[in-house]
Amino acid sequence: MEAFTTLTGIAAPLDRSNVDTDAIIPKQFLRKIERTGFGKHLFHEWRYLDYEGTKENPDFILNKEPFRKAKILLARDNFGCGSSREHAPWALADFGFRCIIAPSFADIFYNNCIKNGILLVKLKADDVDELFAVSAFGKSGLIAVDLDKQVVGAASKKFSFEIDPFNKECLLKGLDQVGWTLQFSSKIDDFEATMAKDKPWLK
């Protein structure tokens, strides 16, 4: 997993609440058996005018300059709700997003993003409103994110955010989480031995 330390970039504002993972990546693109190549299908139904995805919808934010190169996505409440598909963060990352800022995120989506090196920043709705205003300046409205300091900076303002310390460490180091867990292999062995004795039907 790619480490996340700091990021400065253009932020694309997506002014919708309850954006679900079906909207982030529709089901017809979930048939691949790889983790790559999902970016061109990101927000497919909003981004394109045709089913094949050949005609861009000029009104959609990611089809406007300079937001085609956005690295930060600004969103509203409950972003990433619905299906557990990790294809959603794969598509966001493949497009180039490394950070999403919103007042709230859906639970499974949050975990999936952390596992893919995408930082999710939860800020108060009023603060997100301010960032939406900054993002309207496009190239001159850059937003800076510093994970170690837990600060988002935009214009002359700074917003602090909270993050679980373990998630922070995983992101900062780009940690292999399976590897982290395997250091406790003997504890897992012990747990299984006790379970086999006490709850034999679970073996």
Binding site: D15, P26, N78, G82, S83, N111, Q177, T181, P200, K203
Partner: protein
Amino acid sequence: MGKTMYQKIWDAHLVHEDKATASLIYVDRQLVHEVTSPQAFEGLRISGRKIRCTQKTFATMDHNVPTKSKDLSLASTTSRTQMDQLKKNCDEFGVRCFDLNDEDHGVVHIIGPELGITQPGMVIVCGDSHTATHGAFGALAFGIGTSEVEHVMATQTLQQKTSRTMLININGVLGEGVTPKDVVLYIIGLIGTAGATGYVIEYAGDVITAMSMEGRMTVCNMSIEAGARGGMIAPDEKTFTYLQGRDYAPKGSDWVKAVTYWKTLTSDKDAVFDKVIHIKAEDIRPQVTWGTSPGQVTSVDNVVPDPESFKDPTEKIAAANALRYMDLKPGMKITDIKIDVVFIGSCTNGRIEDLRAASEVIKGRKVAAGVQALIVPGSGRVKRQAEREGLDKIFMAAGCEWRHAGCSMCLAMNDDQLTPGQRCAATSNRNFEGRQGPGGRTHLVSPEMAAAAAVTGQITDIREFLLGKKG
């Protein structure tokens, strides 16, 4: 202070506790399907890891499968690749796979319980957000992403933080025509689609106690639609009776030991929940979604709401967007909504009891002209049971299509899809934009309401239908 059922299961599965970093909880069973697993198997292959407990891992193909026939050559090439890959992966890693030709094949959340894989007190995960279904047995069950699927495959554990707990008490007696689906839709409407984010819900009260196992599964199934990590119901005699004798359920002395343990799982009387909600059964009427999020729901005897009636500006915009997509006008009676397609099936309502309920409504009647009605059993077993009871004949005589098991038009990954602009009364769980096919419009309802809509060609109040006023 007593413990909640969630805390008891959590404590019994704690392998490693570290509040500063992450705790590891043990996973008793992992269920796998073709869409969210290929990259996890590939991850194991790249890192040279194996599946730690193949006997605790079960796979099925459901999201992509064709339902018109079991002929895989009818599926699209990419769908077929994914299904072939699952079989290949399961063979290589030694996992039991209920493939399309297995007579016990079916939707992952239907076959887990019916095979007795799902048991009280277990931690069960699956790369699918509707995994909370299994919570109906008093298990801690939740959906995970593909990276976590790989993590469980390699370690049989998950890094977790404890969730907050929410008790939803539903007391009283449900009115005629009000089903478990209406109960859960009502709850989502009440608390909102993010109302339970960060929580595990325990459903309790007279209504839940009186509910069948199938009904309890319907309720737990849609916990994610309220944002919850999981939903669970205390195991009782009904749970044990359902499980006894099932293929993977404990046998002999193990059964006796297991039941003794399962009886200890119930939340203690003095357990404290982080949040408690009380609902009166009498307040719940048959529910219909009008928007593009399951929380955009109302009673069948209401009208389509005016976006201006929402105080919250975000909800106001969301409602306006939804009405535009759904092509509905504020003030229109819900029962005036005409439909083109009816879908009865899915992990929410694809069990035998759902098909029985729908067939009761449709028996001796005809599907309205111009309406397509798909009946998709949740599993091979459900299908065979329905056929033994003659339900297939009732459906087909009415003009419904009787299909093979699969997820089908719940998420429309196979060729069962709405065309743009088509409107569907569906027993599934999500009414998102394009969920049932690009441009398709979904109204979530109970199996009884879906069947009534098939007959009348429009959203119909099942209570009036049952009284003979409609249809």
